[in-house]
Subunit: 212 residues, 2 copies
Amino acid sequence: MSGHIDFDPELTPVPRNDGVDHAVTAARRVIAALLHAGNNSAAEMDEVADRLNDVADYLEKHAPTVAERMVDMWAGQGINRHNPVTGPENAIAPPLLLRSAADGSVTGVTTLGLPYQGPPGYVHGGVSALLLDHSLGVANHVAGTSGMTAQLTLRYRRPTPLFVPLTVTCRQISVDGRKIRTTGTISAGGEECVVAEALFIAVNVPRPGAAQ
Amino acid sequence: MSGHIDFDPELTPVPRNDGVDHAVTAARRVIAALLHAGNNSAAEMDEVADRLNDVADYLEKHAPTVAERMVDMWAGQGINRHNPVTGPENAIAPPLLLRSAADGSVTGVTTLGLPYQGPPGYVHGGVSALLLDHSLGVANHVAGTSGMTAQLTLRYRRPTPLFVPLTVTCRQISVDGRKIRTTGTISAGGEECVVAEALFIAVNVPRPGAAQ
């Protein structure tokens, strides 16, 4: 059935080693290194700021307009490449790489560092919510009926650790008219840390530039 | 009463124009510019990657150890400077600046751009969850009884727009033994977009390096 897209490259946009993905991977290193440095680092931070502002100036000078970029970034029908969870073009994204399993679920493994910290040594509860909300949406996409999140409930069973592999698994449970129910978990070392239940409402959100 | 900390500088860690904050502000420009550029930009992305990797190398060479940094980043008792929502040292954070109001709530205004996108032109539902989960925690801090998130429910009433000022408001509703109830909203143009209800469990999480 069409829900089992085991090898859909757009479900797992693996970062490329060239183009913008390559630069975004480097930007992730900068984000983490700045957080590791803090204000007690011996680094000359004004010089670092100048170098980063030079890069931003250069990129902005060569960028398309926002309207052009909105059409470009939403081209195609698959999982986009710019979102803040799986997007290889978004330095905020860990990125989480999701794959579909034979049972219809989607799953991925990621290890989060200091930029994603909530309590000391643990993942921020809101970051867990971000990973789950997005992965629930991908599970809907794979199952063939997508929607907008209407209600999301997260239960935090135990703290989610930084620096160890986390497994995110989501699956669509039911579609009843426009109501889509989807559940997911984040686990570490085989133990459930966070459980999500969501109600989505099926809507077709037009993509910029797409024929209406 | 002690809950009304109208001028607590640690509640509103306004980014400084020097030190690591300055470099992090520049890193935010890079994140946004990379996402605006995409793969159809005329920029030489391999050159950009080299320049960013050079910055990361430099920062890593001068950084304290993770153990040292964990003590440093958790020093003091106020709202930390490294978290992914309000943290001026975290390039992932918009950052949201929260202030406490005379009625005991905490509130802040932020405008989110393309790195925080979910549906075309709208904020990612998981990003809204991240902003709310964190701000609920700050509301608990201001009210004087903090805890870990046990359950978080988000209701998405209407899409939250990118590129316009969003108001995040949270307040602690009740403390019953170890159970803390806290609610919050994200509004745009006076209309509620997302409503959060949370149950926190009061716990004293020791900070690294703090006397136990």
